[in-house]
């Protein structure tokens, strides 16, 4: 019980840290398009990585179906992003936001891999809800307003409804597995 509480606290802390680092990014000089492209690829890759762990560790079809969908959809976004940067002749550029996303994801992956099998489904889905909420905020408030190239903006705008659908789907799974 105590470890569960601790765990919850850690999740909340990492999220607050993550969101605030994204908020801080609003105050620092705006991200350039190559940096935005990097953030987009990293953010999508992170959710693919979480999904892969879920497929390995979960026995619940609700959860593995959701994880497979995350892998498919986020891979589709990366494919579009790569096609676009190739077309524009842009190379995604590493930056503070990408790095902070990566650091947080390493922590989460560690957790997903170490949490007991019994607690895995809930841990994974709770994290998916929180992660999609955080990414929606970042895309809406940071990436779209700062993107210069109109095709990059269009792509980010096409990603938003998918993130929202994923969030709704994750919340449905959340209620189902908590029963």
């Amino acid at each position: 019980m105590k470890t569960k509480m601790n765990y919850k606290l850690i999740v909340i802390c990492t999220l607050v840290m993550g969101i605030s680092s994204l908020m801080m990014a609003q105050d620092t000089p705006p991200l350039t398009d190559p940096e935005i492209a990097s953030v987009a690829v990293v953010a999508n890759q992170i959710d693919i990585d979480y999904g892969k762990v879920a497929i390995k560790r979960s026995k619940n079809k609700e959860v593995t179906d959701f994880a497979n969908r995350m892998i498919e959809d986020h891979s589709a976004v990366i494919k579009q992003a790569v096609a676009l940067v190739t077309k524009l002749g842009v190379t995604p550029k590493d930056n503070a936001v990408s790095q902070s996303l990566m650091t947080q994801s390493k922590e989460t992956l560690k957790k997903l891999n170490s949490v007991s099998k019994m607690d895995f489904d809930k841990t994974y889905i709770d994290n998916e809800v929180a992660y999609h909420e955080a990414v929606i905020g970042a895309v809406k408030n940071v990436l779209i307003p700062q993107a210069q190239n109109s095709e990059l903006k269009d792509l980010l705008e096409a990603v938003l409804p998918a993130l929202e659908a994923h969030l709704g789907h994750a919340k449905m799974a959340q209620t189902k597995i908590s029963k």
Partner: protein, 119 residues
Amino acid sequence: MQTHKSLVSKYLLTLAVMICFLVILMGFKNPEDTYKPTRHTVTIFKMKFNPENLVVNKGDTVVWINKDFYQHDVTELTSKKWTSKPLNQGESWSKVITEDIKYYCDLHKVMKGTITIAK
């Protein structure tokens, strides 16, 4: 023995009766029989069925076309009675509508739509 003239008039009379009969038949024809089924398109774009709610006539065909770069499907909502299977970008799937239907995307369970038959 019949004259040539009466044969001709008999023939004309039969023809006239037949034409009248046909005209009457066409006049009384049920409007449903003359209704030509139409095709309607539901575009799947930005994680939405568009239009989400569509009214058609019985026997019409609805074509769903996926314009997203994500896969989607069209699946009966209440018991998954039928499904299109996943559609890639640019792919479409059609169904003849014989009853009111509620459907959703089984891949993204929050995407929903309805087809209603006009009364």
